[in-house]
């Protein structure tokens, strides 16, 4: 085997700065899971089809399996671990998935949450069709998507009723702690 020199990278993951020296061939998925221990980013197909590894790269959803860790040098990443404002509170979208049974085995869920956070940021009141189109890049083999769509709609309704809740951008989140929606103040399903 040829000796290939390692490359120094520095990046921010969920607001935390990291510096590492990595092999150029290391995928961003493996970097997050093996180097940083952030195993919430799941590895499914490893060729960009299933969407389980979706993360936010500078606020845009991307496939972490279709990126080398070295390509993320000087970037800001948000993984599913970065969505919840604290260890005892869920992100409103996660809360809605819980309540509306938007997951069964949970394997696809991290990628779906990340994709839907980005969708709701761009389109806070999506129609069911827009939610389904937004989900097209994430495969779920358990739910038939019905409850996923319900959960996204539930979260969208609550967030629309209480603007200013955390769909905030990753870069802002580094400095400002997001405000969480108390469940008692949340709107009903509708």
């Amino acid at each position: 085997m040829r000796a290939v020199s390692r490359v120094a990278i520095s990046l921010t993951v969920n607001g935390q700065p990291h510096r590492r020296s990595v092999e150029p061939r290391l995928l961003l998925t493996d970097f997050l899971r093996h180097e940083l221990g952030l195993t919430g980013t799941h590895v499914g197909c490893e060729h960009g089809v299933c969407g389980a590894c979706t993360v936010l790269l500078d606020d845009e959803p991307v496939r972490a399996c279709l990126m080398l860790a070295v390509q993320a040098n000087e970037c800001a990443i948000t993984t599913v671990e970065g969505l919840a404002p604290s260890s005892d509170q869920l992100h409103p979208l996660q809360e809605a998935f819980w309540e509306a049974h938007g997951l069964q085995c949970g394997f696809c869920t991290p990628g779906i949450l990340i994709s839907m956070v980005a969708l709701l940021r761009e389109n806070p009141r999506p129609t069911d069709e827009e939610i389904r189109t937004g989900l097209a890049g994430n495969l779920c083999r358990c739910t038939g998507y019905q409850n996923i769509v319900k959960a996204v709609r539930l979260a969208a309704d609550r967030l629309a009723d209480a603007p200013g809740l955390p769909l905030s951008r990753a870069r802002e989140r580094m400095s400002a702690k997001p405000i969480f929606a108390p469940r008692s103040g949340a709107g009903g399903e509708g």
């Binding site: 061939r25 995928l27 493996d30 060729h47 969407g51 959803p61 399996c65 080398l68 937004g134 890049g137």
Partner: protein, 314 residues
Amino acid sequence: MKPAPFEYVAPRSLDEALDALSHADEGTKVLAGGQSLIPLLNMRLASPKRLVDLGRVKQLTYIAERDGGYTIGAMTRQSALERDDRVSRDVPLLAEAIRWVGHPQIRNRGTIGGSIAHGDPAAELPAVAVCLDARLTIKGPRGTRTLPARDLYLGYLATTLAPDEILTDVWFPKATPGTGYAWLEFARRHGDYAIAGVGVAITLDADSRASTARDPGRIAEARIVVTGVDGVPVRASAAESLLAGAPVTDRHQVQPAALSASVDALRSAIDPATDVQATAEYRRHLAGVLLERALPVACQRAHLTPSPSGRGLG
């Protein structure tokens, strides 16, 4: 799954990138958005010795109005083109086809130059470039050359790009009034490479745009490109010539006889391959069906384009 080891170079300017590629051989690959190359690395269908990553060459990311069209830097992300109002208005075939590229998560990384230089015959952007006669700028140690997109492609994933050259920008002409476009493709699963796809541009003659119910006019020019039926994007020139001069109906449609003649011409001109996704016969049939559906859409849109006389819905 892991790529085989390689050396990695991340230049910060085009000059640095060209330097990094000087004396490069087939073992060196240029990395743009990586949405085609990284899957090949992951599956070890490709194992280059060296990757030159253009991700930090900021000067290759732009959309500039030039020479009656737009020059687009090779590293411009597909999602940036998708969101650009100028592209939607003036290069509608590109805007329509780009929404068929993978998924939003793919288009956030995928670049126009990467897709065109990779040259997958089932991909949308090489076909759009061939359909619209896009002009490519290629830089290398022997200087700068420009060529029409169709001259880039030699065969399956094979192009005239030398290992030491970089595709730096792509120029697309603006849509002219009286021209309507349509992109249509079919895949078994949304976002996959299509089994076949069709891009169409129909230009009505000037009289047609001021047509009366008594004389609805004619098609001046037709451009048809097909994906997934050969090693390169294919222009259906026989079908194109059959449509040129064909009269349109009073409902602003291609006449049924001309429509079916062009579909037949397309089906007999192509020689698709059989693979795990579809048989050759299925692909041939599908390409015809897609053309049959895309032509009426393009024709209707051509009639509705804005015109100086204020006709049409714009």
